[in-house]
């Protein structure tokens, strides 16, 4: 370590279910360079200071969505958040809010996976097609309608930003709704009626009170708050239109 090596304090919320009753803070002194991300900081801790520190990561370039953490209380991808922006102050790192902590910075995301399955995140064809009918064609306008919502990387920062999800974990939440909307507004898809049952349900969009923080923290500019709120209108339309044309109910 050279004389002018900068050292930053990283405070990590630790939790080991085998021995801890509840999470506790632990501070590490981490030498860093200006190009080091917070993820590299916790990797340094694991490699040189405490090998028992657990966290998820993979791509290191804001594509995989694995390394979300609360950094100084804000949901962030630790790979694109830099230690230099916090120095000389201490940087606080904690597992994503509103999710159960499995261990250290690792959250339990089973609930989200179930929600993701429930929205049927794939194109449900309007009618069976044969290969001979060829590929689907879409205009740029039809692509624009859903493209933004298809950028979601399931990093769950939006859930950590959503107090309504924190208060009621059965709320289907921002990312799952954004993905649901992505398929509902795709010109190739015919599954809207099925998915609207979920939108209209107790777990659906009316849990949202338009806090809007989910869209602020989204690293992919998906704007999940927009998907949720557009579907409040759709749900209201469904509710009133069923008197004219009855079709199914809410789940």
């Amino acid at each position: 370590m050279s004389e002018n090596q900068k050292v930053i304090e990283i405070e990590v919320l630790r939790y080991h279910p085998e021995k801890d009753k509840e999470p506790h803070k632990q501070v590490f002194e981490v030498p860093f360079t200006d190009d080091m991300s917070v993820l590299q900081g916790v990797q340094y801790i694991k490699d040189y200071l405490d090998g028992s520190l657990s966290f998820r990561w993979s791509c290191r370039m804001a594509i995989c969505g694995s390394c979300g953490m609360m950094i100084n209380g804000e949901p962030s991808l630790s790979c694109q958040t830099f230690l230099r922006d916090y120095y000389p102050a201490r940087v606080r790192v904690e597992a994503l809010s509103h999710f159960p902590i499995e261990r250290d910075l690792v959250i339990n995301m089973e609930g989200f996976i179930e929600k993701l399955e429930s929205i049927q995140p794939y194109i449900i064809p309007k009618e069976p097609r044969t290969l001979a009918q060829g590929e689907y064609l879409q205009t740029p306008e039809q692509l624009n309608a859903y493209e933004q919502f298809s950028s979601c990387i399931n990093c769950l920062l939006c859930y950590a930003a959503c107090p309504q999800f924190g208060l009621n974990s059965s709320f289907i939440g921002p990312a799952a709704t954004a993905l649901l909307h992505r398929y509902n507004v795709d010109s190739r898809d015919g599954g809207k009626a099925e998915r609207m049952e979920l939108i209209n349900s107790e777990e659906g969009v009316f849990n949202c009170t338009a806090v809007g923080y989910c869209s602020e923290v989204c690293p992919k500019h998906v704007d999940p708050a927009n998907a949720v709120n557009q579907n409040k209108t759709n749900a209201a339309a469904d509710y009133f239109l069923r008197f004219l044309a009855p079709k199914g109910g809410a789940k």
Partner: protein, 132 residues
């Protein structure tokens, strides 16, 4: 034995933990001023229906310094509510396509605020003209 014991953190005081949530709660709280002011106007309407004497009594009551103070406070609160309401508006509506381009969030918020300001000025002008 399963060693898993997922820990659920408390949500107590959640809105104090992030400046964004504090702003959200202030926005929500200022809605109470909108409701309170609607109550005052409705009460005025009730007094009007009870005749001239009752109406004049209500007008006199409004000149109480406490009431004027409340009006100033309500003006600040309702202005803040208006500002934050239009700030979130782009997130709550379907995309507006103008000339093949999606209207920017700034344009939506800006036009909302401009319409609110113009409507308030028109109403003020109307009432002012009627009061003279």
């Amino acid at each position: 034995m399963n060693k898993r014991r997922p820990y659920v953190r408390s949500m107590d005081g959640w809105w104090k933990k992030n400046p964004f949530f504090v702003e959200y709660m202030i926005h929500e709280a200022t809605a109470l001023f909108v409701a309170a002011y609607a109550g005052i106007l409705l009460f005025g309407l009730l007094r009007l229906s009870q005749g001239e004497a009752a109406w004049n009594e209500w007008l006199m009551a409004l000149k109480n310094p406490w009431y004027i103070g409340f009006h100033l406070l309500a003006l600040v609160a309702i202005s803040y509510h208006t500002y934050t309401w239009f700030k979130i508006m782009p997130r709550t509506m379907p995309p507006v396509i103008v000339g093949g381009q999606r209207l920017s969030a700034w344009a939506i918020t800006g036009s909302g605020l401009a319409v609110a300001a113009a409507a308030s000025a028109a109403l003020l002008g109307l009432v002012w003209g009627m009061a003279r």
